[in-house]
Symmetry: C2
DNA sequence: TTGAAAAACGGAGGCTACCTCCGTATAGTA
DNA sequence: TACTATACGGAGGTAGCCTCCGTTTTTCAA
């Protein structure tokens, strides 16, 4: 891939993320190209169908979430790493609401994609949570996948408000940590 | 409402049902008008937004389902009435798959609609199932709403095949009926 | 460093679907 | 029957999707 192509690819994914977040997954391709500062031709060469763009944004988001997990484990103590990761997960999941339909369509068309990315997220969660469990900071009777299963649907539900998510995550974190544990 | 307007309204809802079933909820308005044998102007006067048409089709389907329940109770013995109604429910729910996204959008915009129609369905189910329970044909430890809750998601799941739904409904019916009951 | 091939860019333009508008047709009514 | 309110239909304006191709940029061998 040529350097300028790579540059434009990244610009397009970034622009698509912003535009989809602001206008929903139905936003016009022209708007994405404009935001990225490239022509529509360039957009369509990289992403022939709208769904390819949605998918690229989503994969990019998942990758970032996984990196957040790695960074949290490398830089933070076990419990703060869990807090940081789950906050990132909530942010990640909530942005999906603006293009849930498009995402579902992408998953319908390619079920393997859904599975693969879900595994990737579950592994990252397990990395952070398992470490905290071994350190005695998190109760042992939960698994990483339980948490994403709990938070994912909560965050993508269209009726969840910003305030609710801000109130609920701390509550979930309190329930998650080993009892009597401090700070 | 003038007679010709009423006629065209009905033709449009019928055409929309067929076209949505065949091409999905994203089918073109022109295609619906053509199928109904009217001009697009007529379509848009009756249904200013696509969502209004989706909603009309859905309400019509629910109405038909409720009528099926009434007819089953009037014309059939308790158990056969349950069979007939649940088969109709499966048919009803499966047709929704082709325009689930549009339906969700309609519900997001008007949550009361969802509630109202759900209640209507639950009442119809209760009518048929309650009668069969009182007649001793159906086990007493289930409610009408449990059944729709079980069948609805099953039928609208995009991964359910025709064959599966044909195999599963009899199984569910077997589990539903009072043990030792015949015919 | 240079020049030519390969790769990528951009946006004009064709296509299709959405929706409005208004002249024409028709049902209902006295 | 004649009149009016109502409804019909589809031409045409608008907008978004996508393709195509002349132009620009990058790469790389000499």
């Amino acid at each position: 891939m040529r350097a300028d192509a790579r540059r434009n690819y990244d610009k397009l994914v970034g622009a698509a993320r912003e535009v989809f977040a602001a206008e929903g997954g139905g936003a016009s391709m022209e708007a994405v190209a404009r935001k990225a500062g490239v022509g529509v031709g360039t957009l369509y060469r990289h992403f022939p169908r709208r769904i390819d763009l949605v998918q690229a944004v989503y994969e990019d988001d998942v990758e970032e979430l996984v990196e957040t997990a790695d960074r949290a484990v490398a830089e933070l103590e076990p419990w703060p790493a869990v807090v940081a990761f789950l906050e990132a997960f909530v942010r990640y999941a909530r942005t999906k609401r603006t293009f849930l339909n498009e995402l579902r369509e992408a998953f319908d068309k390619d079920p393997a994609l859904k599975l693969r990315l879900r595994e990737r997220i579950d592994e990252a969660t397990e990395l952070v949570v398992g470490r905290a469990q071994r350190a005695g900071a998190v109760r042992p009777d939960v698994e990483g996948a339980d948490l994403t299963q709990l938070l994912g649907p909560m965050c993508t539900s269209p009726t969840l408000t910003d305030e609710q998510s801000v109130r609920l995550l701390p509550m979930i974190l309190d329930g998650l940590r080993t009892r009597g544990d401090v700070g």
